[in-house]
């Protein structure tokens, strides 16, 4: 991407069928949120200027790239969940993008067809679709859903009336037969994406895609590793943003830019340069994913004087911690490896789920966290329920934990600030 003339994207958005006035209002609001949360931070790494640019063009230049790709016959697949392997989508020659789901938008329309007591993430993605303000879904030739919770499962039925949706079934346990079942589901997905693109997934294309996506994860792992140092060389907000953008951006370009950011952060660590004052309380966040532009909790913590040093979430370690083995010979072997890797991700939708608790405690040690904040969206039953087990395990391990239930609204900001500040004072 180059920073040249200001382009008017309205004709492109109109072509996509976006509701232009509403979409302008959305971009204005996100721009304002971004300015208040990100641009006023002190001593930011220079490498963040790339992400600032990506965000400023998140509905512009990036959409233009998708638009041009499709004009040449390329296919775009939209997803909401880590369990839809992007390696497979790339191997079939399509591009994978995360879909809009991180802001309170279009709820009036959503509540005509869904209960009010639905989690913010689901309401948000339906709101974006119903009010036609998410160019990513409009650029998606196919949306691949998954059965990670009852709300999403039923929401995909409703979304399916408005868009081309395919649902991948995810097991709820991790026994060998469940892993085998997931492997079969990936076979179905393979057929689906091959049919969509007209390209077969070959051993070569899959090997390349695995390597490319692993490289992206390796870059994120490097960034994550620097956060374990004190002082932390990057704010939690900026690191969260890096992970959020990983779901949207062009893979090789993003990987290159994130490696450059990692170089800078490693240099900062060597030089002892940090973004938070010495003694700032170090927080690990765990829980539900934070889709862009959900920066609320990180913002509150860091404006209260703490620093977020890790995210055990899908927009965090669950996304980049594990790699797919790169030594597979055949498509069969590689799909086997992909299914094993993905079934190792510890989402709260699984039972039993001791693995997630072990991950949280391990991460808290690795990033030298002073405390854990467990974040759940209201009405996200799996994470809300699991918060109790996480709390108990953390307390048994001697790590203070604060449970937060919230949504994307600003309504409870004052109350949340008081709780977060009190937690930072306490630890």
């Amino acid at each position: 991407m180059s920073e040249e003339a200001v382009v008017d994207y309205h004709p492109m958005w109109a072509e996509l069928g976006l509701d232009l006035p509403t979409h302008d209002a959305l971009l204005g609001a996100v721009g304002q949120m971004y300015g208040a949360a990100f641009l006023k931070q002190e001593n930011r790494p220079e490498g963040m200027s790339y992400l600032d640019f990506v965000v400023s063009e998140v509905h512009g230049l990036r959409i233009k790239e998708l638009h041009d790709f499709r004009a040449q016959g390329g296919k775009v697949v939209g997803t909401f969940c880590l369990y839809v392997p992007e390696e497979m989508i790339r191997a079939a020659g399509a591009w994978s993008v995360g879909l809009c789901a991180g802001a309170e938008f279009g709820y009036d329309e959503v509540e005509k067809i869904m209960p009010r007591n639905t989690c913010a993430l689901i309401k948000s993605f339906m709101g974006f679709k119903l009010t036609r303000v998410c160019p990513y879904i409009e650029e998606s030739d196919l949306v691949v859903g998954e059965t990670t919770c009852d709300g999403k499962k039923k929401a995909y039925e409703l979304l399916g009336e408005l868009h081309n949706v395919y649902v991948l079934e995810l097991p709820q346990m991790k026994r060998p037969e469940d892993v085998a079942f997931y492997r079969e589901e990936l076979g179905e997905l393979q057929g689906k994406v091959e049919e969509l693109t007209g390209n077969a997934i070959t051993a070569e294309s899959l090997r390349t895609a695995i390597k490319e996506v692993n490289d992206k994860r390796r870059a994120l792992q490097r960034i994550a590793a620097t956060r374990a140092h004190s002082p932390a060389p990057i704010s939690g907000k900026d690191a969260l943003l890096a992970t959020q953008v990983a779901f949207y951006d062009d893979v090789p370009r993003y990987t290159q830019m994130m490696n450059a950011l990692a170089d800078e952060l490693e240099q900062r660590v060597a030089d002892g340069v940090g973004v938070a004052p010495a003694g700032a309380k170090r927080i690990l966040i765990t829980g539900t994913p934070m889709a862009l532009p959900n920066w609320k909790l990180h913002d509150i913590i860091e404006k209260s004087g703490g620093i977020v040093v890790g995210e055990e979430m899908c927009t965090g370690s669950r996304y980049y911690d594990a790699l797919v083995p790169e030594d597979g010979e055949t498509v069969e072997e590689m799909l086997e490896a992909i299914s094993a890797k993905y079934m190792d991700i510890n989402c709260a939708c699984f039972t039993p789920n001791q693995g997630r608790i072990d991950d949280i405690l391990r991460m808290a040690r690795e990033v030298n966290a002073d405390g854990i904040i467990d974040y759940a969206l209201n009405f996200c039953t799996p994470y809300q329920m699991e918060a109790f087990s996480v709390d108990k395990a953390a307390k048994d391990a001697g790590v203070p934990l604060l449970k937060i239930d919230t949504d994307y609204s600003a309504e409870d900001m004052g109350q949340l600030s008081t709780r977060v500040e009190a937690f930072l004072e306490m630890i």
């Binding site: 709780r419 009190a422 004072e425």
Partner: protein, 257 residues
Amino acid sequence: MRVLGLDIGSRSVDAVWLADGGDIVDAAIADSGYDPPAAARTFVERGGHDIVVATGYGRHAAREAYGCTAITEIKAYALGASAIFPQAAAVLDIGGQDTKVIALTANGRVADFEMNDKCAAGTGKFLEVMARALGYSLEEMAAASLAAETGLAITSMCTVFAESEVTGLVHRGEDRREISRGLHESIAKRTLSSLARVSAAGPLVFAGGVAKNAAMVELIRAGFKGEVLVPEDAQTVGALGAALSALADIATDATGA
């Protein structure tokens, strides 16, 4: 060095002035009115102090206006309550719009806490609205509750719904004393379950404006497994804690710790 602690709450602004050694020099309470920062400013301008520390929901505004330090009500109430009762193991603060329960460590620090979320169910504001619905003053409602034989069950804790429910009961000719008792019981029940969730043990210090309500104190005493202590100046415990935190910071700076 003299210190002013300010608790800028939704219903009142409380001030405590401390001398070097921690002795209370003066204390004052003003209504928050429509302009809590103005009420706070009156205290700041009174002078006689070198440092100001603010707590309460207006703490951030005060920090910006006077450049003072701000601490949360949780920390302030923990510090204030344990200064008055060094044996305290937990603190309950029912204020104008917030209820906080705090479990303390052996040395008086915050071990765990919980506070009500967005709504004002069970706070001082809730009691004010219900008193009005009953045609009582706050003091009359507390007295009526103490005089009641048994309480009438109030099913709603949402302030607006509870107000309609109370109005309905009054129209049905129910005894206002029994209704008052029922209202106090419903708040006590809710508060006691918060205390149980943070595993609060006695002695419990009951502070905040609602601790001046004898009916609430009686019900919390009856339901809590452990001693319940009520400070004489329950409403200024937060302001005292804010002031004490400044003295503690000065002591830390002096020792270089």
